[in-house]
Symmetry: C2
Subunit: 382 residues, 2 copies
């Protein structure tokens, strides 16, 4: 089975079902993409898959779509590629295993731009917020985008008006990488007023979508798209959000995926900050007021944490992740509550950090609770 | 022993030692104020008390001070009076028992104004912040002062320029009660530019000080004074605070006394909000953006909580205090960690609420942890 065959199969499947298509995804995992595509084409599929694919199964334009995306300076990324963001998408797999809809891994990703997606998401933070942003919010989003990009962190956002656009522009101004995740085909600029911005993002970073070329945006597609913004990032900063802002949906996905949710405080007299203050008051989000605080609250644990262990020797532990890691037992499992008490890191944050430490290979779940992984114990000895 | 004798003794003791005078306070508790005053006068005291009183023990002007405060429209309140804020000062006793300096109960309080201090502090919230406040901060402080006073809550503050003054003025504008706790004698207006404001506060509320008439303010007196602002209030709202603001000292006393610490978010671009954001980021303070949220986060538990239990019947629990109360066992003690898990209220907040429930007679400490008090169990049955 060659790579072209796989890519054609996934291109077809990407158009045939509207994400998130749970049954189809499970079917692909079971029989493989090539056989899945062949059987969808002829309608020989389980009934749950048929429900998701019967309407569009005759739309077999995979080769044409691949040509379209090539013309737009893009390509189709598939899970079989080296460039697939396997590491960030681990969080989706965990969420899926816990029965969360936001945990569905995409069947493929259409991308525009020459960067390597896996490399670009090695250190990435989402900066999102209202389209109806205030001057204050746009200013902060721009500063955060600029500062994060300057620190070598990829700024992920949704290319919308307001906060998203300001964050992307800040990153571009720093000559840094930025990723726009669209709710429409990557050959389609939405919003139309951001066509030039989206072209710049494709030139300097990546424009990414789960939707095939020519697909137009729709409300439910923004919600589906938001999980990818959260998944591709180590944490999400909500800069401004009204009470009903779509950014709150990205915030919910961020928490569900076990990533760090952050919110920027603003004037309590501003309706644009209502959603952020709700997230802060409920304790869902950590307040962040500067790029340094965003970096302090995120950080790729598998890399930074181990580096910190190695470099500082007998120095003080760095950050909450380190404190949580150090509170873990070497041979016996501990409950998150016990780890919270031991580390002095609040329970909510411990609950968010443990799965990250697990992904980083530093912690593992046992029947009696969480403990350091063998690997981490070994690394600690070096 | 009559009341005049007690008052003269405490007036003398109030001038003779600089608060907080731990040894003198313990000596008064041991031998009573009249004997303590008599023995301090002649220097027949334990050496620790002598250190605190020898410099001023000849300044026996108690009668003169009482005349001065009467002339200023005031009086001396002593712990033996009905009007003594016994309930709020319970928190001081608990803190003192835990060895905290901020837990020292004053030997007496000089007050100006006709209100009853115990009545005025039955429902009181402190609103404090920087002298160097921004327009935003003064606006919010004024709105909070106005709204709290309108809700029947006494606004406690320090009469300083900036946030304090705006909070007092807001309360006065609502024709509501407000208390200014000074770091100098109540016959002395400090800052001088707030003489008219302080007179208004005395006319409509109370001006209170631990220091005898004619005492001038000093830096250490502001710090000592701050514990009384915290103790007289169910919670403290920090509206704006720079990184080194004195309001952070009031915030620390608030937490140490187990009272609710709140902070108002502001623009992250404003240096005046730095201190508030630090308190939010460290988790010491709850974010509050409106008077309604301040009321939700405070509430006199001995009254409101029991009322809620009675009134709502099978209705949903109201507020964190109720959730914590309901998570407590009837016969077995639980750790704060277990209560946090059971109630879903975060550990830090559980730790703050348990002593309040204890003061309200609803919870008690046992060797195995916290449980509902017998009294609360009985009340729950009605």
């Amino acid at each position: 089975m060659n790579s072209d065959e796989l890519r054609l199969a996934r291109a077809y499947l990407s158009r045939v079902a509207e994400p998130p298509a749970l049954a189809l995804t499970a079917f692909v995992a079971e029989v493989g993409p090539v056989e899945a595509a062949a059987r969808v084409r002829v309608g020989e599929v389980p009934s749950a898959v048929d429900v998701q694919t019967s309407a569009r199964r005759a739309e077999d334009r995979a080769a044409f779509d691949l040509d379209l995306v090539t013309e737009a300076g893009g390509r189709l990324l598939i899970p079989e590629d080296e460039e697939w963001p396997k590491w960030p998408f681990n969080a989706l797999a965990i969420a899926a295993a816990n029965g969360l809809r936001c945990g569905l891994e995409p069947l493929a990703l259409w991308v525009r731009g020459s960067h390597d997606l896996a490399a670009l998401t090695r250190r990435a933070v989402a900066v999102v917020g209202s389209r109806a942003a205030s001057d204050y919010g746009r200013h902060v989003a721009g500063e955060f985008g600029f500062g994060l990009a300057g620190a070598g962190v990829t700024v992920v956002s949704g290319a919308a008006y307001g906060i998203d656009g300001a964050a992307h522009r800040g990153a571009l101004a720093a000559d840094g990488p930025t990723i726009a995740v669209l709710a429409c085909g990557v050959d389609t600029a939405y919003p139309a007023g951001h066509r030039v911005l989206i072209d710049h993002i494709a030139a300097q970073g990546l424009v990414v979508s789960e939707y095939p070329p020519t697909h137009s945006p729709a409300r439910h597609r923004f919600l589906t798209r938001n999980r990818l913004i959260a998944a591709l990032s180590e944490g999400t900063v909500v800069v401004e959000a009204g009470r009903r802002s779509g950014a709150k949906n990205t915030a919910a996905s961020t928490s569900a995926l076990g990533r760090v949710l952050m919110a920027v405080p603003g004037p309590v007299t501003s309706a644009s900050s209502l959603g952020c203050h709700e997230l802060l008051r409920s304790g869902e989000a950590l307040p962040v007021t500067s790029v340094a605080e965003v970096l302090e609250s995120t950080g790729r644990l598998g890399v930074d944490l181990v580096e910190a262990t190695r470099d500082t020797g007998t120095g003080p532990p760095q950050g909450d992740a380190m404190r949580v890691f150090e509170a873990l037992g070497l041979s016996f499992g501990c409950s998150p509550e016990a780890v919270s008490v031991e580390s002095g890191v609040e329970l909510k944050r411990v609950r968010a950090l443990l799965p990250q430490l697990e992904l980083a290979g530093l912690a593992e779940r046992t029947e009696s609770g969480w403990k350091r992984s063998q690997e981490a114990t070994w690394r600690g000895d070096t």
